[in-house]
């Protein structure tokens, strides 16, 4: 396949090394970190208004975290050797730490927090369900069926501690993803100490937006009224985080324009040509400025409930598109220009190939399928839990 090139590229640079799957990787981990930080608002910072989204945010984080390493695995030339990163990690490599940061976050933070939070429900379910479900719930109890008031209090305290540890862990997870790109000194599009911070705040933006959208969608599916106090508060946090994220990105941009080093002309040309649609139009205008204006309108104007709902849905969807475009522009954009600053190449995405569009779509849909299973298995709805408790109490009474 002939790849169109403009100007001069070093001969080995013509073909892009990192594909759309590597775009997905920071996108998915960003959603994990953002959703977890939203959950911590309720647990650690006592923002009670967002409580209806707490469990949903945790399950969303888990669903996306399970899928996050898959694009990397599919991208590797030798995925069967990826375990070497655990056995013989190269300590100077940012990427080598991924396995450890990932495992830490998955096993020491997220799974533990979800298990502790759901332990009461799991024990109750293991007593009041039958068949294979009973087996699943019994396995999930890990042999501990003590749901006395004292043990639940311990769960609560330990869960709080895990969340406190989880906040810096979430920062580490996504800040480190930004560092993978920000530390490549060969590439001026990536090399920036701001990169981890920008990645972190954009992660929070995307994580909050996805939980907001999922909460509203699930309320609609369950024909339950949306807790407007909750979504208003979540939207408020989305707005503030977005402002910080946008400011950081603009700071980076202004700094580059003002400094105008040797790479500037090349990067500037790229932004005005090959990245114009994905960066200027989709990322900045549609995916950042417009949602900030929309949510900003809900903060300063007295809008009706229905109008606010629609604004949140539109702004949330635009935010997701904008953050995906940001990941695209970083990963793909960073490979479109030559390190000689004398030429530009083109990204040709396959369709039904290992790193093609179809694979990317499947990997994007997969977390939602996993989330659906998780929601069925561990319902995040409070009324369901209270109903279960009463069933369990009745069952105990019958015993």
């Amino acid at each position: 396949m002939q790849i169109p090139v403009e100007g001069f590229m070093y001969p080995n640079e013509v073909e892009l090394q990192w594909s759309v799957l590597i775009v997905l990787y920071p996108f998915l981990t960003g959603l994990v970190a953002g959703a977890f930080i939203l959950a911590s608002l309720e647990r650690v910072f006592m923002v009670k208004a967002v409580k209806p989204t707490y469990r949903l945010a945790l399950l969303t984080a888990l669903a996306f975290l399970i899928v996050a390493p898959l694009p990397l695995q599919l991208h590797l030339g030798h995925p069967e050797r990826s375990f070497e990163m655990y056995l013989t990690p190269h300590r100077s490599s940012a990427m080598a730490m991924f396995g450890f940061v990932y495992l830490w976050y998955l096993l020491a933070v997220l799974v533990v927090e979800i298990w502790l939070d759901y332990r009461h429900d799991i024990v109750v379910m293991s007593q009041c369900t039958t068949g294979w479900k009973r087996l699943v719930y019994r396995a999930l109890t890990l042999g501990s069926s003590n749901i006395s008031e004292r043990s639940l209090h311990i769960d609560e305290r330990v869960g709080w501690l895990v969340t406190v540890i989880g906040i810096p862990s979430a920062f580490l997870l996504h800040g480190y993803v930004g560092f993978i790109f920000g530390s490549v000194k060969a590439n001026p599009w990536w090399s920036s100490p701001l990169m981890p911070v920008v990645f972190l705040f954009s992660a929070m933006v995307s994580g909050i937006a996805i939980v907001l959208l999922l909460y509203m969608l699930m309320c609609r599916i369950r024909r339950e009224p949306i807790d407007m106090g909750c979504v208003d508060t979540v939207a408020k946090y989305l707005f503030y985080t977005f402002i910080i994220d946008f400011s950081l990105e603009m700071l980076d941009l202004i700094h580059r324009i003002y400094e105008a080093d040797e790479s500037f002309r090349s990067l500037d040309f790229m932004v005005h040509t090959r990245l114009y649609l994905s960066q200027v139009v989709i990322q900045i205008l549609l995916g950042t400025v417009l949602p900030i204006l929309l949510i900003g309108a809900t903060q300063v104007l007295k809008l009706a409930e229905k109008q606010r709902k629609w604004i949140y849905v539109v702004a949330g969807c635009l935010t997701m598109i904008g953050i995906f475009a940001m990941r695209w522009n970083v990963v793909i954009g960073g490979q479109l220009f030559s390190k000689s600053f004398l030429g530009y190449t083109t990204y040709k995405m396959g369709f039904a190939t290992r790193e093609g569009l179809l694979t990317a779509v499947v990997l994007t849909v997969l977390p939602f399928v996993i989330l659906w299973v998780l929601v069925k298995l561990l319902p995040p709805w409070p009324e369901k839990n209270s109903a279960l408790s009463s069933v369990a109490v009745a069952a105990h009474g019958a015993d």
Binding site: P11, F98, K339, S340
Partner: protein, 243 residues
Amino acid sequence: MNMTRRQLLILLPAAAVAWKSILAGTPETSPNYNMTEHWWGMLVDITKCIGCGSCVRACQMENQVPDGYFRTWVERYHVSDFDIENPKVDSPDGGKNGFPPSSFSDGKNFFVPKMCNHCADSPCTQVCPVGATFVSPDGVVLVDQKYCLGCRYCVQACPYGCRFVDPKKETAQKCTLCYHRITKGLTTACCENCPTGARQLADLKNPNDPIHEFLKTHAVQVLKPYLATRSKLFYYGLDGSVR
């Protein structure tokens, strides 16, 4: 022997690492070659390069480099009289078959052979997640083909565009400075085949190597010195426009 579960859990990872070490085996050795006695680099005299592409062809044959990828290549620069920041560069098929006549009548034209800079502080080895790519004790940046994951992080990290991923092996490939040859006392394929002697293999630890006299008496430069990679690919006659 009685062993508790805890002792077994401690012992198992240690045993796994030991087993990995056994499986890795011992590296191929060359008789009479002592790695610690050498520190390899290369000298490229731009004033001597005629852009014939012999070095590229020799490298491709010697190292079975797949078509469309390059362990070494030659670039042709055209710099007009006043516009040093905007050189016109071409390298048709890596300069493998030479170059067509230049279409420019003004300014200057010259050829720049490129290859791995075998940096002592190489960004590519720094980022490799498993240490599959490394700087050997004699200063050559190599890739362990049985260990490379094919993650391509090293390709991204190389500032000089010298790495690629072999489409068949799915592992990172690059110039090995013909390690299989230099450890047997031979020179590299590209140096061997250069008709003008524009490329000279240099042993920086050998006091009798002519490189020392050359470095003392000529103004030499490395590519992208601001990146502080401690490149060992020295250029004589390098124009400021070269990237």
